[in-house]
């Protein structure tokens, strides 16, 4: 799975240095003054933000030194922050925020950039006072504290979570501009918690317990019904994400995680599991999160997130500066299991090449793919399609619409096409 060394084209930008000094000093022609740096930063951030972000540095190095080897740096800290030069951010509206997929590397999404979707804001919860109730068709109704849940055997998994509304506007044409805007409602974390099956074994299922209602303690009291036979093997009650406790917007202090299922089933701020004999038909599985078909009927309980992929470099809103070598990079995933193969086309789907996959390739997890390409400076249409281990192949827009119509909003997983024009500008098209 590892990548071979590849020679970039002669178009690769490089410069030559002749110095053989033991310690070089890099100097710009006009070393920026502190004022110049702060002015620059301020225009980017606004005064208050710049002050906060640069504060830990300003106390020790009031300037960005021309030669950092000549100025002692800042001491170690208890909790780190990113460089003030890095400004990647989620695209935030009140009830959702989107991950900047085009800025990410590897497969882990930084917790601070994991997408959000909530239905009445992120609640403030004191973990010491939070409880999980397990009741309904069980032998022993139980009430757990977070500390009690942490005493059970812990399991970790690196998996994606995707909102079923991701890319939903694309049903009606190429609406979004960037990978973030179109596809940013998917992210990957290492999640840790206790298996649902462990907790339910403690409560003891009684005959007829075939579904489970999960309820959040946010101001929407978000609820979904889940079929036990689909979730018992893999679902986790998570209290940690990427090594740390869950972030507030990811359900702190406890969320349900159903690997491969649509994000809204992974109930955040989880406070209740009720075992039942049939789906409860909550708002979120009747009025919302159903798929309206062309004949006016609606598909219900379409839990699985089907195979999907997106090229993140180059992607909408970016620009190739000149012809030459480009590493095409992207992410592929499937709620059904492992990514088996990713194919990439640079000619609008006439021909396809198999992309490389970065190890590890994990089930129900973002998988990084890459392909060498030499852009000749002419119009091109870039596409990727994911084939998962079940043999399912990601459909074209036409294939998807021919079956599902355009009434639906959820579960849009068609191939993304990026057009590159002769200026190198990348834009969203459907072909």
């Amino acid at each position: 799975m590892d990548k071979k060394t590849r020679k970039p084209t002669s178009g690769e930008q490089k410069s030559t240095a002749s110095t053989n000094d033991f310690r070089i000093t890099t100097r710009t022609k006009e070393p920026p003054t502190r004022r110049a740096f702060l002015t620059g930063a301020t225009s980017l951030l606004g005064t208050a933000a710049a002050h906060v972000l640069l504060a830990p540095f300003l106390g020790h190095a009031a300037d960005v030194p021309d030669d950092p080897t000549r100025v002692p740096g800042v001491p170690a800290t208890e909790y780190g922050r990113r460089s003030p030069f890095e400004r990647s951010k989620r695209l935030a509206k009140p009830q959702r925020s989107r991950t900047p997929l085009q800025d990410l590397h590897g497969i882990i999404t930084p917790s601070a950039l994991h997408f959000e979707r909530h239905h009445n804001g992120v609640p403030m919860i004191d973990p010491a006072r939070h409880r999980l109730l397990v009741h309904g068709l069980v032998e022993r109704p139980l009430l757990f504290t977070i500390d009690e849940l942490k005493r059970f055997p812990a399991t970790s998994r690196i998996v994606f979570v995707e909102c079923s509304g991701n890319s939903g506007k694309e049903w009606k044409g190429p609406k979004g501009k960037t990978a973030q805007e179109i596809h940013g409602l998917t992210s990957t974390s290492e999640w840790t918690g206790v298996r649902l099956s462990t907790v339910l074994a403690e409560a003891g299922l009684t005959p007829g317990a075939t579904w489970m209602l999960a309820e959040g303690s946010d101001a929407a009291a978000m609820t979904r019904s889940l079929p036990l036979d689909r979730v018992l093997d893999e679902a986790l009650l998570c209290y940690a994400q990427n090594g740390d406790p869950l972030r507030p917007e990811q359900g702190y202090p406890l969320r349900l995680l159903v690997p491969g299922f649509e994000g809204n089933t992974c109930i955040k701020w989880l406070r209740r599991l009720k075992l039942v004999s049939a789906p409860v038909m909550t708002r979120e599985e009747t009025s919302k999160y159903t798929d309206l078909m062309p004949d006016g009927t609606a598909r219900q309980f379409t839990f699985d997130m089907e195979a999907k992929s997106v090229i993140t470099v180059p992607s909408g809103g970016q620009r190739l500066k000149k012809p030459g070598y480009v590493e095409i990079r992207g992410l592929a995933w499937s709620g059904r299991g492992r990514v088996e193969k990713v194919e990439v086309s640079v000619d609008g789907g006439n021909s396809w090449r198999t992309a490389g996959l970065q190890a590890p390739v994990l089930p129900k997890c973002h998988t990084r793919f890459y392909l060498d390409w030499w852009w000749d400076g002419r119009d091109a249409i870039l596409q990727s399609r994911c084939i998962d281990e079940t043999g399912y192949r990601q459909p074209t827009h036409q294939e998807l619409v021919s079956i599902r119509g355009t009434n639906s909003y959820y579960h849009y997983n068609a191939i993304q096409s990026w057009k590159i024009d002769e200026e190198g500008q990348v834009s969203n098209v459907q072909v």
Copy 2:
């Protein structure tokens, strides 16, 4: 590799609820007022810190609501933060900080909690002005910008980095108290960058180029010599960590990463690679980072971090509240490859059981292990030992000292012993 469901002991703490209301309301006996909450927070944080941390919440929910379903939460944000209830932190001195291993879950270390080691502080570097010089025994000396390096094929790997001084005080007895204090100079991230071999292929090695000097642009201008035949296959020039750009204390905007080698060779703030025909004998490989043996000679260039492990739960400073089920959890790793097996003893090394390993088990990466244990309330000594894929077995303190003596500070990888007394208190011992 997946874990089986296990039944906790009857000693598992639980409580029973009888309510069958559709939406429960959890009420504490005395709902805290805003004042009570802030007072509590302030005593923990100091006034200024509490203000900053709670600010995003106070604007929308001035209190921790008794029932969070009755108060709209806060809207989505561009860049997330952890809950103000979470306070895990690095143990920071000016030139180093240690990861709170006992607080972590899974294998990924949150970037904000990755250990630090620097020799003259963390420099402030503008990535647009940073350059990497490749020179010496090469056909074409080259100077790269960060953007130029990002255009090369990218590779990601999830691997640990460990300071060779980790646990160094333990040579002379059980000095540290907690897992963090003793072993906190190791962390795991997903690192992304360009392969060293790709960049060196661009420069073209000339005959005799067998070693490489790597130099940082911090105020220590940290330098190490590395044998090309050991590093060419795996070394990366990294610009990203856990999906995001490198953190400043991890070498932003560029660091060398040599998987499995001692952390100080993974030169941070990397600005120069000089190809040479022999080691340069820098301060860091003569005066420092050598291993003084009992006969007064010193081992030099002991790059490899040998197999090691530590039980993080229960670990020093923690307390088992009562007899009963405990999931023993810990981390194992080896700079030589994959963890093959972890064995755990609860009787000071008289008998050993094989622990479970959490998938994925990746080469040169922290690996999470776990074992069921029923504590009977009596004195116990817990130990773990890592066996890696080369067959190497982590030594006891006595075995290690019998060969290496106690003159050394670096490369201490003996078995950690935690004593549990009848009160459940866990402390550091050597047996």
